[in-house]
Symmetry: C3
């Protein structure tokens, strides 16, 4: 099995329960990953993902090899049939096949370039590994999705919800810089798999997320209305409301995206979200290992 998108989760409810079980006893499966190697390939910066995924693998007894592909490896070519007389010196065909010789699972982080939308949507890097690797591939945030983050978010909400049917609002808005949509995309897909939650997306008119992702999720342009009776606010913008559980994937620009008084309040669960990244990653790795590494 690969873990590329939220769509790889068969039952979100079941996965969240399993992750919470792992959290209670993270070392229970310490022998499961013995003599198995996780290769973590980074094409972009990472703090939480880098550390939590390593931690998860070590909790499972796996060996970990970390590689910053751009600075430590070779420039990759992704186009089939390319005449490689320019800058790239290794084709994804070889790279993915070769890494598969040494690693039992390959985890990859490769952000959107935010220049060519079509290219970003094509997910060149992770699709290339998916196509040419002979071992399972795990998404540590690609151009269009960050499913291990959203799984951690689901775990965090399960721990913090105080009523049976919680209301969750994804608040999305303009950003000083063109913003990757991997996190909101996966969050929306994850929410669509929630059985007992109400979900509203709010953003200014004209700032639509990809309609192929949002599908028939409720979109409310009036932020105040969207926030009525909300339990959790997942913010990708400034929102100065302290009465809701405040969620964010981090890193976050303080006093630009969120006010100090919100993120520092008791209702902020951002550090717990980060903590749950370990169990999110561990569940994914554990499922692959239990599936015989296939």
């Amino acid at each position: 099995m690969n873990f590329i998108s939220i769509q790889n989760i068969d039952s979100l409810d079941k996965w969240v329960k399993q992750a919470l079980k792992i959290k209670k006893n993270p070392l229970k499966n310490k022998k499961l990953g013995k003599n198995k190697t996780l290769g973590m390939l980074f094409f972009n910066s990472s703090l939480r993902t880098r550390l939590s995924t390593q931690k998860a693998a070590m909790n499972l007894g796996m060996d970990v090899i970390v590689m910053n592909f751009n600075s430590e490896g070779w420039t990759l070519e992704f186009q089939d049939g390319a005449v490689m007389n320019q800058g790239s010196s290794e084709h994804i065909k070889e790279a993915a096949a070769v890494v598969s010789q040494y690693c039992d699972i390959i985890a990859i982080r490769a952000f959107a370039g935010l220049v060519d939308k079509e290219k970003d949507n094509a997910e060149t890097v992770i699709s290339g590994f998916l196509k040419y690797a002979s071992v399972p591939v795990v998404n540590m945030e690609s151009a269009t999705g960050h499913p291990m983050q959203s799984l951690a978010d689901a775990i965090t909400m399960a721990e913090h919800k105080t009523k049976h049917r919680a209301k969750v609002v994804l608040s999305w808005a303009p950003h000083p810089r063109a913003l990757p949509q991997a996190v909101p995309n996966s969050f929306v897909e994850m929410m669509q798999k929630q059985e007992d939650m109400d979900f509203v997306i709010t953003h200014p008119e004209g700032y639509e997320l990809n309609p192929e992702i949002t599908k028939d999720s409720v979109i409310e342009y009036d932020q105040n209305k969207a926030f009525e009776n909300a339990d959790f606010i997942y913010a990708k913008n400034w929102s100065n409301y302290k009465e809701y559980k405040f969620m964010h994937c981090l890193p976050v620009r303080r006093n630009v995206i969120v006010a100090d008084e919100v993120i520092d309040s008791e209702n902020s669960v951002v550090i717990e979200q980060a903590n749950n990244r370990t169990y999110s990653a561990q569940l994914v790795l554990q499922k692959i290992l239990k599936n015989g590494g296939k």
Copy 2:
């Protein structure tokens, strides 16, 4: 417990004896660190510290995660209340709290910038982690101190002293480039904790170290006089004397800071100092682990 400065050592004599015991049997506590993770965060280059601290952690059975923060992570903001609409994308508040979710001990290297003395003395990076991390923090050389180096120096002197009351001279002098004072600072503080040694600082008049560090340590501007009857010379400058044990933290510019014939002589103990870095680090980590990781 944290290990930020030589002042965190309650009894230098006791610590040195414990480190020498570790050196005799470095794998004795191999189980102590089992399933514990050391996170090593580098904001600057490192050879000895990088390798010896990893080695120490592995001797204790710990898992190690190494991260070059500047190139692999996000640019940090250290100012409280900052409106983060500029270059920094993550606040130390989140970064330190987040790393604490995955690591049982955080070790940090963050040099002086040597541009703004006040900022250097404020120890922005390590103070930030100290304030916002929820796990013990270890100093792998900060702007104003390098206590694991000085602890290794104390171990080295204990092994090499040939008389009860040894005389130790710290020789400090101008350098082609503005020089960080972390090593001499911690060395002075360490010497002030030595019960059975005579200590003299020598440097040209006008090149004073921080008087809040040197306090009432003897300062002798006449280098020849300072060196009389010395047993150990800790050199941060050129000194062409072969009759003393020559000490240096390394890296050292040969034939600029020290002549080949001095550092290559039998009296040079620089490699043994480097070797003792492992036991210095291991003692610190071991004390934290034995303290229940607090």
Copy 3:
């Protein structure tokens, strides 16, 4: 023992058989490297070598410390007696001795600079470590040799040869950029140790490899003639022939050095070559460990 060149192999036939035995049961000697540390120092990029050597060490139960020397450490000085008042801040004398304090085996990658041939042939980096390290040194590709690659090639040919006396051709030709000769050098030296193979080098007249390496190996300028009845072609140039086993060390520029239809054909063994890098490295490390780490 060190492993610097193919000349360190006493019996190629025996080594290949031992490597194939390791390949059948890679974890058999998992306890051999317990509490031993492999230090991998990279002065250049690496994918296969980085991953396969780590994997090999972990198969032997070793701890691994990886360091990108240029970006993570200090600029090294290699000249004896240098007055180090310029860019370099640490001498190889200290660096090699210091790394030896923390690592039981030091593996080094340091390519040719391709600017000063004499300097490249002097193998400044690896020779420096060899001279000043107090533990075994392993070559992960130096200016003039890549013996772990060629050992993997020998393993691959042993697995794929279909007749007793196979014919092997090294096809070498101009390259858009000045090309390091480490791989062909070691391949030639390895072939000279093959007892049951015919070996021909082919390249355009005037593109001679180092005659001190090729010695009395057969050189045939007519590529077609060289390829007659060949079983394996080791290509460092474009060669559009599909009927031979195609070998390449990778990375390779597709459709510049090799056509898609050749490298993608069933006769291409490049991924198996990469796979065998693990067992090549593991054999070398295992021999050093069995030799008491000397």
